[in-house]
C-alpha cells in the first residue's frame, strides 16, 4: 500500500514586493538603529545650538554722549526693505499735479553712482516714497523710484559742453521721467506708480554721493570694510516749475544719518549745501549720502537672516555621516547580502534608501531651521542688531532650502558610500567637496575670482539657497562670497548641488548592479 504525501505548501499569502514595501523595509532599518535616530536629534540640536552661539556673540551698540546706547534703526522703504535715505535736498511743496525741469550743466562726481537731478518725494521723512530723474557719475541718466527701481536713460557723462535736460512730471500718483540733450526733443525714460502719494509732496533738486568703501585686511574671519564719505557737486540751471508749487522759496535740508557706522568707520556725518547765482539763477547743489536700498555684507550695518542658519554646516556633517553609514554599515555587517537577496532589484533598493535618508534629513533640516530662525532672530534683535527684513517667501525658502540642502547632502553621502564602500573615505569626500570649498571661498583664503568659481562649480554652490541678501546693481558694494553673496542665484546654486548628487547616485546605481556584494 502506498500513500502519497503532498509536498508542504505554506498557507501564508505571498508578500507583496512593491516599492512601498521596500521603502518600509529601509525605513525600519533606519529607524531601529538607536544611534542614528539620536544622530538626527543631535543634528537638530547642533544646528540650533550653533545659531544660538553666533547670535549671542553678535552685539551692536552705538556710542552716545553718555556711554553706549541702542542704535537707531535704519529707515525702511515703501517696499519693506531697509534703505539709505540721506542726501541733500533743495525743495518746496507741490500741491496737485505739476512738473520740474532743469538743465544739468556740470557734475563733479567722485563715485560711479553719485547722483544729482530732480526728485518728487513724499515729505522729507526717511524712507518715504519718491521718484527721481538724475545724472550719475558713470552710469548716464537714470530714473529711480522707491529705492529699488532703476531705469536707464541717456548714456554718457555730463559736462558744460554736453549738458543733460531732466524733467519729472507728476500726474496723480503717476510720475513720469524724461530726458533730453537740448531741452526741446524729449525722450520718456519711464513712469512710476507711487501708491498712496498725498496731494502735497516735496519737489526739487538733490545731490548725493555714496561713501567710498574699501575692504580691510584679509585673513580668516576678517572681511571688514571701511567707508569714508564723499560728496558730489552739480550745477543746475534753467529750473522751471509748473503746477501748484508753493512759490519761489527753496529750502535746503539734509536727512540725518542712520546711526553711526558699525564698522568703526568715520563718524563724520554727511554734508551738503546749495547756493543760487543771483545773476543767472543757476543752482549749485552739493551733497553726500545716498538714496538707495541698503546693501548687506561688510559695508552694511545690518545682519542677514541666514546668519542664524550657520549651524547648517554642523547638521550637514551629522547627516553626511548618517547617509554614509546607511549603506556602509550594511557592507560591514554583511546585511547587504540579505537585503539584495530579498529584493534583487538593486537600483530600486538604492532608490528606496535614497528616499528614506533624504526624507529623514529633510525633516531634520526643516525642523532645525524653523526653530533656529525665529529664536536666533529674537536674540540678535535683543542684542541691538538690525536684521535686513525679508519677505515671507524668502523665509520659507530659507527653511525649506535648509531641509533640501541636508537631504541632497545625505543622498550624496549615500551614493558616495555605495561607490567607495568605506565609511571614512565617503564621509571625508562628501565633506571635502561641500564644506571645504565654502570655507576656502568665504574665509578670505582664496581671492574673489577663484572663490566665485569654486561656488559655481562645486557642490558648495548649494548653500546659495540660504542667501537672503539681495544684489542691487544701482549700488556699488562688495558682492563677494566673503560678504555672503553667492555667484549663483539661490535655486541655480542648489541645482548645481543636485547635479552632483544625481551624478554620484547614477554612478552608485551602476556600480551596485555591476559588482558582487
Amino acid at each position: 500500500m502506498t500513500t502519497t504525501i503532498a509536498p508542504y505548501r505554506s498557507q501564508a499569502e505571498g508578500a507583496r514586493a512593491g516599492f512601498p514595501q521596500l521603502l518600509r523595509a529601509e525605513w525600519t532599518k533606519f529607524r531601529t538603529v538607536r544611534g542614528w535616530m539620536v544622530g538626527l536629534l543631535v543634528a537638530v540640536l547642533l544646528t540650533v545650538g550653533f545659531g544660538l552661539l553666533s547670535a549671542n556673540g553678535s552685539h551692536r551698540s552705538c556710542s552716545g554722549p553718555s556711554g553706549d546706547v541702542a542704535c537707531p534703526s535704519p529707515p525702511v522703504g515703501p517696499g519693506g526693505g531697509m534703505v539709505t535715505d540721506t542726501f541733500y535736498f533743495v525743495h518746496q511743496s507741490l500741491t496737485g499735479d505739476g512738473s520740474i525741469t532743469v538743465r544739468v550743466s556740470g557734475f563733479s562726481a567722485p563715485e560711479a553712482w553719485a547722483k544729482a537731478g530732480v526728485i518728487v518725494k513724499n515729505g522729507t521723512g526717511q524712507g518715504s516714497a519718491y521718484a527721481a530723474v538724475m545724472v550719475t557719475g558713470t552710469h548716464g541718466v537714470r530714473m529711480q523710484y522707491d529705492y529699488t527701481h532703476d531705469q536707464a536713460g541717456l548714456p554718457g557723462a555730463v559736462s558744460s559742453s554736453s549738458p543733460r535736460w531732466l524733467r519729472l512730471t507728476r500726474s496723480g500718483s503717476t510720475l513720469t521721467g524724461y530726458d533730453s540733450t537740448d531741452g526741446s526733443n524729449w525722450t520718456r525714460i519711464g513712469a512710476a506708480q507711487l501708491a498712496g502719494l498725498p496731494s502735497t509732496v516735496q519737489i526739487g533738486m538733490f545731490a548725493a554721493s555714496p561713501d567710498s568703501v574699501k575692504t580691510l585686511s584679509q585673513g580668516i574671519g576678517s572681511g571688514g570694510a571701511s567707508s569714508s564719505p564723499t560728496s558730489a557737486t552739480a550745477t543746475l540751471d534753467n529750473v522751471t516749475l509748473q503746477g501748484g508749487a508753493s512759490g519761489a522759496t527753496w529750502t535746503g535740508s539734509m536727512g540725518n544719518r542712520d546711526g553711526s557706522p558699525a564698522g568703526g568707520g568715520s563718524v563724520q556725518g554727511p554734508t551738503g549745501g546749495f547756493q543760487q547765482d543771483p545773476g543767472t539763477g543757476a543752482f549749485t547743489v552739493r551733497g553726500s549720502g545716498d538714496i538707495a536700498p541698503a546693501v548687506g555684507g561688510a559695508a552694511g550695518d545690518g545682519q542677514a537672516v541666514e546668519r542664524t542658519l550657520v549651524g547648517t554646516f554642523a547638521g550637514l556633517v551629522v547627516v553626511v555621516v548618517l547617509g554614509t553609514l546607511f549603506i556602509t554599515a550594511e557592507y560591514r555587517r554583511g546585511l547587504i547580502r540579505t537585503t539584495l537577496t530579498a529584493s534583487p532589484g538593486r537600483v530600486r533598493v538604492l532608490a528606496a534608501k535614497a528616499v528614506v535618508c533624504a526624507g529623514a534629513a529633510f525633516a531634520t533640516g526643516v525642523v532645525a531651521a524653523a526653530v533656529a530662525i525665529p529664536l536666533c532672530t529674537h536674540i540678535l534683535k535683543a542684542n541691538g542688531n538690525v536684521l535686513y527684513p525679508v519677505g515671507l517667501l524668502t523665509e520659507v525658502r530659507l527653511v525649506v532650502g535648509t531641509g533640501l540642502l541636508l537631504a541632497v547632502a545625505a543622498v550624496m553621502a549615500l551614493a558616495v558610500g555605495t561607490i567607495l564602500r568605506r565609511g571614512a573615505g565617503a564621509v571625508t569626500l562628501v565633506i571635502a567637496v561641500t564644506v571645504l570649498p565654502y570655507i576656502l571661498a568665504t574665509a578670505s583664503v582664496l581671492p574673489t575670482g577663484p572663490s566665485e568659481w569654486l561656488l559655481r562649480l562645486s557642490p558648495a554652490a548649494g548653500f546659495a539657497v540660504q542667501q537672503s541678501l539681495q544684489v542691487f546693481p544701482q549700488v556699488d558694494s562688495f558682492y563677494t562670497p566673503v560678504n555672503g553673496f553667492f555667484p549663483l542665484a539661490p535655486w541655480a546654486g542648489f541645482a548645481v548641488m543636485c547635479g552632483w548628487a544625481a551624478l554620484a547616485l547614477g554612478l552608485a546605481g551602476h556600480l551596485l548592479r555591476r559588482r558582487d556584494v
Binding site: 580668516i220 556602509t328 571614512a424 571625508t428 576656502l440
Partner: protein, 255 residues
Amino acid sequence: MKLALHAEWTKLRTQPGTAALLVAAVVLTVGLSTAVAATATTASGSDPAKLALTGIYLGQVVVAVLAVTVMSGEYSTGMIRTTLGAMPRRWTVLAAKATLVAGAAALAGGVAVLGSLLAGALLLPGHGFTSAHGYPPLSPSDGAVLRAAVGSVLYLALIALLSLGVATAVRDSATAVGVVLALLFLFPILTSVVTDPHWQRHLQQIAPMTAGLAIEATTGLRGLPIGPWAGLGVLAAWAAGSLLAGGVLLRLRDA
C-alpha cells in the same frame, strides 16, 4: 614597545590604501597650493608663505582619513581583538599606533610642504610677490618661512594624532571622520558669522585648525589672535586631549 611598533608597522605597511592615501595627501596638498599660487594676487592676501601652503587645508583631510582608518579599520574587521589579545597592554598599542601614524603624516607632510613651497617660490614672484613690492622671496633661510614649513609638517602630524584619538574613542570610522572634520571646519565658519570681536578672537584662539595654522603666518604677526607656536600648542592640546580620552576608553571598554 619595540615589538608593538614592529607589529603596527607591518599592519600599516600591508593595509591596502596606506600608500595611496599618503600619495593622495601629497598630491592634493601640492595641487591646491599650486593652483592658489597660480591665481594669487597681491591684493587678495598678503602672506606669501600662507598662500603657498593653502594646500594643507586639503592635505589634512586625507591625513585624518589615514589616521582614523588605522584604528577604526581594526574595529570594523574585528582585528582589534587579535591585536589586543597579542598585546594586552592597551596604552602600548595606542602609543605604537600614534608614533607610526604621526610619523607617516610627517613624512607625507614634509614632501607636501616642500613641494608647495617650491611651487610658491616659482609662481608667486610672477604675481607681484617680489622684493620690490615688499615681499621677501620664499626661502628656507628666512627664519619665519622655515618656521612655517616645519610647523606645517608638525601640524599634519598633530592632526593625525587628533584623528587617531577620536577614532579610538568613537571606534566607527565614518563617525570618527565626521567628528574630526566638524572640529576642524565648524570653528572657522562660526567665527565668520560672530560679529563680536572678543568672541571672534576667543574662537580663533581655541579652534584647532585656525589656531594650529597660525604657525604658517610670516607677516602681520602682531595682528594674529594667537602666536604661531602658541597656536600649534593649542592643536597639540586638542590632540593630547583626544588621545587621552581615546586611551582611557580603550583601557576601560571591552574590545
